[in-house]
Symmetry: C2
Subunit: 336 residues, 2 copies
């Protein structure tokens, strides 16, 4: 790999991203916590169980229907912390700004960050601002890192999937990717599409307070539902079988995908989550999720199966089974 160059698809969240982590990052940084391969790290400090996660945001354009880079930078990291079964508490914010970037746009972005932080109930407590010369960055990139407190009796991991568990998805797929894509290229979709960007920590807290024994939580961002489920299937060494007719895809997203040739199962979401739960708790989890604004369309979309291990299948409308691989290449760079 060392004679190669970085390709856009190395940042897709799909197969090449995994190769880069496996071949470059992992050999350097190998440690037990990183090896858990969850959306962030679960730490023990002086008896405190904490979750810690980071993401850099390079979305283009900066403003899109349903959000902007600031809202995304807060919600994305809040969600990654929450997916460890944690209550997000504090965020850091690191800005890299291009010389000449309008202060008014920066003000709009930080106001949006603060609004999202307020909704999520987190505080932005430390930060850093770098400025680089014109042309050395495309406007503004933001990194956030987040710390949360893992809830009592909660033990979430991508390694916890077991045959027999149900897989719940919290709502409709593909809205974030299409909203950003549409804005970037000035596309007119048959029906307008807004990003689903939202903080999911309230939904997670409500659910885990009632049912701490949820096995897996993950938000299907870059790489979409299909890639995220492949990760979990590999981490847990199980198979996953989805029912195509149960997967919620809006007519607006389906119509846009039909035109553009995209598969909504591989599109990034920024306000959805996947929950793996035992059959006996499934209805209780569904009830709680459906009462929450960000889970009102929650439904069971499939189950964990024994074989084939590490693979994700989709039972199609006509009764066949389609294997869903990880995303290969990148349909939509700079989606978050």
């Amino acid at each position: 790999m060392s004679n190669e160059c970085v390709q856009l698809a190395h940042g897709s969240g799909g197969k090449l991203s995994h190769d880069l982590i496996k071949d470059v990052m992992w050999p350097a940084f190998a440690n037990e916590i990183l090896g858990e391969m969850n959306d962030g790290a679960q730490l023990h400090i002086s008896g405190c169980r904490l979750a810690f996660s980071t993401d850099s945001y390079v979305v283009k354009p900066l403003f899109f229907p349903g959000g902007d880079i600031g809202k995304l930078a807060v919600c994305g990291t809040v969600n990654d912390v929450a997916m460890n079964g944690a209550l997000p508490l504090y965020l850091s914010a690191g800005f890299v700004l291009e010389e000449g970037f309008p202060i008014a746009d920066l003000q709009r972005i930080v106001a949006s960050m603060q609004q999202a932080a307020k909704e999520a109930g987190v505080h932005i407590v430390t930060g850093d601002t770098k400025v680089v010369e014109k042309g050395a960055v495309d406007g503004i990139y933001i990194n956030t890192a987040g710390i949360g407190k893992i809830m009592d009796n909660v033990h979430i991991s991508g390694k916890n999937a077991l045959p027999g568990q149900n897989i719940i998805l919290s709502g409709y797929l593909g809205e974030h990717s299409l909203a950003v894509m549409g804005e970037r290229h000035g596309l007119q979709f048959p029906q307008s599409v807004c990003s689903d960007c939202a903080p999911l920590n309230g939904l997670v807290e409500a659910m885990l307070t009632a049912v701490p024994k949820v096995a897996v939580l993950r938000d299907p961002t870059r790489g979409g539902l299909a890639t995220t489920l492949n990760e979990i299937a590999l981490q847990s060494g199980v198979g996953i079988m989805l029912e195509e007719t149960h997967i919620p895809i809006s007519s607006a997203v389906q119509a846009a995908c039909d035109i553009l040739g995209f598969d909504p199962l591989y599109l990034a979401n920024e306000g959805k989550m996947i929950v793996f739960v035992e059959p006996e708790s499934t209805n209780q989890v569904l009830d709680i999720m459906q009462q929450h604004v960000y889970g009102s369309e929650a439904r069971v979309i499939g189950t964990v199966v024994k074989e084939p291990r590490g693979q994700v299948g989709l039972r199609t409308r006509i009764g066949g089974v389609r294997l869903l691989d990880m995303l290969v290449g990148d349909q939509l760079p700079r989606i978050c």
Copy 2:
């Protein structure tokens, strides 16, 4: 300010950086912890006292005498966490890569991060990699955020400076800035200069274990010694008086500064720290520092005085007093 554009000096760590924080960031994010204005946040989570800090690294060139962007990204954040009187434990790493960036360079950078992390005794436990198209970032930018455990009985803050305290500097000034600058522009200095980039947490731990009652710790990075001391003078509402003859500046740095017209008091350091301590503990702190590889040249460079509040004075060789303001403008953009 809202009709303006971001200037390079907004990232200098000097006066314009402070204006940007005061006029844009603070009105949006205002909260008690951020308001402490230390090198990072001091948090209380379930009885744990934690320090949390972040920095984005955009140094140019990526490799320079004495270090590279990877070593810098680890040491810089380790040091910011340590300056809160904390033992740094865990780091996150967020990479933004340019399409076409050589994988071999990335491997060299992450190896350097790991080596620095090993020396500092911290673990890189979570991360993120984004790739943007050619021209949308200058090679590679890295963000790190760090978490540490604040030591028992230690209460460090830039607000703790009190008249009568001594100000100790751990070693020679200006090496990092000049090493980066020399490499960037292919300059031949009269004597070669290496970056001082180093993790200071071992030095901090040794010192605070013996003398927990240190008042202020700060590393004079962007903006240099003069800007950092101005920040502390403002935070604490005190004056500071330095003795020019006591400030350690190597002949190599002085010679390079003479040629380039730089003032070493405003140059960034990446392996130095300033300690404010009561007179009765000064000798003990000095002894401990001088026994450590990163504090062997430690010395008292000045004292805290009552007046003029919020200002930093320098008693010069010839007996006059020069007022040292915060850095205005930016001598050296992209120094870290």
